[in-house]
Amino acid sequence: MSDVVRLLKADGTVGEIDAKAVAMFASLEGETDPATLSVSDIDADILLIEFTGAADGRGFSLAKAVLGKMAYQGKLYAVGCINPDQLSMALQTGFDGVLVPAERWADYGAEVWKAALSPIVKLSYASTRSQGLQSIWQLRHGTQS
């Protein structure tokens, strides 16, 4: 049975969570308008943002809004239509990791998923929340925490 979901964290650890437990986590769809959210919507230790399409990047903006102006303090995981080539963007916008159903995990293979945690591109111009990525503007001007 494929009701096990892999949790790939930014620090490289891989966990397994029962799909039923995942379904209990607080969750937002990527296209949610941050203006419609209240603090109670994100009052959780673990919050999921679901990417509903591979060509829809709104979950990245939502992550920034939740972590930024809504000051969410818990763990934030991406779920849904997100592939290894998009993982760097997820880490850059502040996700702590990604939840991958067993079938999707096997499609790409554990090695590809893990390799995606240390992307070849290690630079970004604007700010970044990812440990593995440096902001060029910060490196040049060094005025930001």
Binding site: E31, S61, K64, D85, S127, R140
Partner: protein, 549 residues
Amino acid sequence: MYQYDQLDQSIVEQRSAEFRAQVERRLAGSISEAEFKPLRLMNGLYLQLHAYMLRVAIPYGVLSSKQMAKLADIADKYDRGYGHFTTRQNIQFNWPKLIETPDILDDLAGVQMHAIQTSGNCIRNITTDPFAGAAADEEVDPRPLCELLRQWSTLHPEFAYLPRKFKFAITGSAIDRAAIKVHDIGLRLRKGSDNRPLTDIWVGGGQGRTPKVAQLFKQGVALEDLLPYLEAIMRVYNRYGRRDNKYKARIKILLAETGLEKLQEQVEAEFQSLDRTPFVNVAAELQRITENSLTPDYASHNESGELTNNGSVPHPEFDAWKQQNVKPHKVRGYVIAMVSLKPAGGIPGDATSRQMRELAELAVRYSHDELRVTHRQNLVLPHVLERDLFALWQALVEIELAEDNIDLPSDIIACPGLDYCALATARSIPIAQAVSAKIRATEKKTDLGGISVNISGCINACAHHHVANIGVLGLNKGGVENYQLTLGGRNDQNASIGERLGPGVSGDEVPHVIERIIDFYVDVRDAGESLSDTYDRVGKEPFKEAAYV
């Protein structure tokens, strides 16, 4: 022009290495074509009718001699000895192999170039006035802002998966040579009362299936607020832009459906609540970009003394070229020399590797190492000493690039069309060749003034036919190519969308119809009146009567 530092260099090299790894995964079969396609498109690699096509970014149309020479090398080494300059001021190669594309990207990285975001639903190559930093009428040099926007938009995680592609254009002159009003966002830089630059933001212009002229969205934005404000527009567009229909996904549709005032309110709310920390370094970065840019040493060049024609020998061909292709420069003694890539009967925008290499040499000798690409698919030598012009012209004659037709009807914009493009419905290049071959003779004997003729091979309007004085749109009617004409468009500060003249005609008919339209215009025009002005004055019917015999 801007020079990369080690960090700019690293990100381009890393991106190239990343693409190499993606290509390897594709060739090994670990990702399917469906998964690979968006990845290759993010690096400008399309699959067209006969081969892959690689679109290389020429950020804001600025090229060094070294870069131009490298493009020539790439054309020879990996392609078929030529390149095609585009309306986004980029260059396309029509025959690269997938297996060699990573090597091409490495070669490009070696001269501070890349193919990042030349395709896909992201912020595309930013375009500007091809005379930026040189034009006599310029108020603010747009290039530092162009570079800042290039950096900001490069691999921006929030804007890599927009509803649709997104295009910026910037001008720093009152005369708009960058067509900013037919872009998703057009920026007009001007000087404020205290001499500090301000930006007027135009939103929602575009072409394609639903052509729109942009609306003035926000006036007088100070540079320190500009990036946060643009980020706010992008977020609102990304959030509310339609994803259910690709023909309704551009910001022009969002603007039309939401209404200007409401969209302004949404953007203002986002702007006010936006986290400004990522932008704290923007002022310092703009300053650094300006300092890291090479400015021509006009004075020292002045003393070098080149071979010149002092005017004692009359030379009508040179005079004609100078009259048509040379524009005023902001520095006394200098001019801007335009190189037409539109020989009569030739392929608009194509240059051979030999021509590219020779032009690179000419830029070293005569233009402080710099070249520009125009959105009308021509090239520019932006900083030429007036007294070098004759020698430059002679050299251009040698490589058959001295056509004196800038802004004349034979200076046609044409997309690749059905000869190459998988989306096209009809051919464009052969039509452009036939039109330019036919009207070149008329141009030489009659002063036509500026007339733009743009030919697109499908409704996506890559050749900007909607904003041409004479636009041609190639369609497929029951398996046969059929061409619709539009009249009265403009792409400058008075941008307007052309009107459809009447029923479509066959490809063979197009040159004749265009010739009759031009003849009619010459007959009825008032002094100093452009074709679109005449069209506005006399209306469609008389033009229609003249065009369809």
